[in-house]
């Protein structure tokens, strides 16, 4: 069995570096695919654009999705995913700066599995990433790949 992939959708290189650092600090060694905008995330998932020809049967174990993204924002990515048979059951954790009420309502409304706010304090951020890794990579059982060829 192949190592579970984490899809990190994040446009801010600082946040990307910090997230990768937090993962490393927690000894999470899974492959991390980084998509820098919403379009790239969907291309990865659907095997289009720069990911043309990718084996789409290889699905991420969890998607860490930022909300404010260039091109397509996090909500549009989520909507497109939930509207597609291949990706509608994938676990999505919204990982964002805000705790705006409408963001949370929209996120869960579109089928997010979790909503986590990135803390300013890096220690807290490491703790949050640790909890996420523990839960989504070890404890959580994903839906069987039904309907996939």
């Amino acid at each position: 069995m192949r190592e579970a992939v984490i899809l990190l959708v994040e446009d801010n290189p600082d946040d990307e570096a910090l997230t990768l650092r937090a993962l490393k600090k927690n000894n999470i060694q899974n492959e991390v695919v980084v998509a820098r905008d919403g379009r790239e995330a969907l291309d990865y998932l659907f095997g289009e654009g720069i990911y043309e020809g990718r084996d789409v049967r290889v699905k991420p174990q969890v998607i860490l999705l930022d909300l404010k993204l260039p091109k397509l924002d996090g909500f549009e990515v989520l909507r497109a995913m939930r509207g597609n048979e291949h990706t509608r059951l994938l676990p999505v954790v919204i990982l964002t700066s805000s705790n705006e009420e409408r963001d949370r309502i929209n996120g869960y409304g579109l089928g997010a599995n979790s909503y986590v706010r990135k803390p300013v304090e890096f220690g807290e951020f490491i703790e949050a990433v640790k909890q996420l890794g523990l839960y989504w990579l070890i404890l959580n059982q994903i839906a069987p790949a039904a309907g996939v060829l």
Partner: protein, 482 residues
């Protein structure tokens, strides 16, 4: 519509008829009464003249005791149709001569002449009897009596009544005619005016106008004033309508501006909450990375600076969060319901104890307190006040925090949070609720200074008020009403 017209005309006609009839009847009565009196007076004087003639003509007959001559003197009265009976008595009261109109043989009741008088009159039923003394050289020789029929007076009365009736009827006809003309010229414009007022009251159409009569009288004046009044109402109405439309337009404009401003504020705070925190995360995160990865290359001062950078970044994060919460509280829609304030305070107290288990704090929370408030916002209020009390009692060996309800007579329910903490100088009490206003040094007590500003906004939005009493080192009491 024609009904009131007929009514007014009828009334005018009726009044005219009644007034004419009354005036005529009074005039006729006065005239007939006067005529009767004067006729009677002339009757009396006529009979008196006859009696005097007979009296002077009968002197010699009485003196010479010639009854035949006296009778012939009396018989001359047959020329006067109204004389019914006449007679002469001697001074001794004996009947001397008589005259009777054929067909009558009765003797009327006779008046007697008072001493010193020449004659006396007695009015009977349908007749008049006059007695006249016969005097010759100062000596009374006897008396002449003449009875005259009054049936002519009755006749005259009948004639007068007939004439009065004819005049009355003619006057009534004339009054009717006058009334009709009057109704045409006076009643019609008034009735038209009345119909118009009713029409205007019903339909609220103040553009209608009464038609002037074209004459120069009070009715024209009335119609003119009425039209003026209508004009004023119409103008005022129009001004009012325009003012209202203007007001509505302005309200709409302001609402649009407000909505726009609110939207801008919302998108501003949205981007603040997304974009302002990200750099702080980088500052804190990479400072931490420096501390971890370059530990060996940094001396104590370098590490201290990095720690200060991190502390500031984190504090900025808290400030941004508090500020966003303050904005959220101002925009939140308030949905009031019955809230168990006691349970709310107890759960906050439990949270505080859990966060700092080492502290010894006595909580006294009144049982059974209920509040009519937005539950989420009330939680923020109590959270801030109890957290403050917790914070500012941190240097007390035995800390005590009380949450209760004071019910002043008639006033609104007044909640209070009392502590025995550091308190504050009452001189600065007015600054307490301003955003980012702090009365204590950061080194003594941490905080952003947004908490009480948030509390005040929530309380104000509930329509209540919040105030505090304190003295330095004497603890503080925060009161609020909802």
């Amino acid at each position: 519509m024609r009904l009131p017209n007929q009514k007014l005309s009828r009334n005018v006609t009726l009044i005219n008829l009644l007034v004419s009839a009354a005036a005529l009847l009074l005039a006729c009565a006065a005239f007939v009464g006067y005529d009767q009196i004067s006729f009677r007076r002339s009757m009396v004087s006529e009979v008196s003249v006859r009696a005097q003639i007979i009296a002077s003509n009968s002197v010699s007959a009485i003196l010479f005791n010639d009854a035949t001559s006296a009778r012939s003197t009396l018989s001359a009265l047959s020329a006067s149709a109204d004389v019914m009976w006449a007679g002469i008595c001697t001074a001794q009261g004996k009947s001397f001569a008589l005259y009777q109109r054929t067909g009558t043989d009765r003797v009327p009741a006779l008046p007697s002449i008072a001493p010193g008088q020449m004659q006396s009159v007695l009015f009977g039923n349908g007749d008049i009897v006059l007695a006249r003394a016969i005097i010759f050289r100062g000596r009374s020789l006897g008396t002449v009596y003449v009875e005259s029929d009054l049936s002519t007076i009755a006749q005259r009365r009948k004639e007068y009544a007939a004439i009065a009736l004819a005049v009355l009827l003619a006057s009534m006809v004339a009054a009717l005619l006058v009334s009709w003309l009057f109704a045409k010229s006076v009643a019609d414009p008034i009735v038209g005016l009345a119909a118009l007022t009713r029409d205007i009251t019903e339909h609220k159409d103040y553009s209608a106008r009464a038609i002037p009569t074209g004459r120069n009288d009070e009715v024209t004046l009335l119609i003119g004033s009425f039209n003026d009044m209508l004009g004023q109402i119409e103008r005022r109405d129009r001004a009012l309508r325009e003012a209202r439309a203007d007001l509505e337009r302005r309200v709409e404009e302001r609402t649009a501006q407000l909505t726009h401003a609110n939207k801008e504020l919302e998108s501003f705070s949205y981007s603040v909450s997304h974009d302002l925190r990200a750099p702080l995360r980088s500052i804190d995160g990479f400072s931490q990375a420096l501390l971890e990865d370059y530990d060996a290359k940094l001396d104590a001062a370098g590490k201290d600076y990095l720690r200060r950078i991190r502390a500031s970044a984190q504090r900025m994060g808290v400030l941004i969060d508090d500020l966003l919460n303050l904005g959220r509280v101002s925009r939140a829609t308030i949905q009031k319901e019955k809230v168990d304030a006691t349970a709310l305070a107890e759960s906050i107290a439990a949270d505080l104890r859990r966060a700092q288990p080492g502290r010894e704090v006595e909580f006294r929370i009144e049982k059974g307190m209920e509040a009519w408030a937005d539950p989420g916002l009330l939680r923020i209020v109590l959270d801030n006040l109890l957290n403050n009390a917790w914070k500012f009692t941190s240097k007390r060996g035995h800390a005590s925090i009380e949450f209760g309800l004071r019910r002043d007579n008639g006033g609104p329910a007044c909640y209070f949070v009392r502590d025995n903490g550091a308190g504050f100088d009452p001189k600065y009490a007015d600054r307490l609720f301003g955003a980012f206003q702090r009365l204590h040094a950061m080194t003594d007590f941490a905080g952003t200074g947004v908490g009480l500003a948030t509390v005040q906004r929530i309380i104000t939005r509930h329509g209540g008020s919040v105030w505090a009493e304190s003295a330095v080192d004497q603890g503080a009491v925060f009161y609020f009403t909802l």
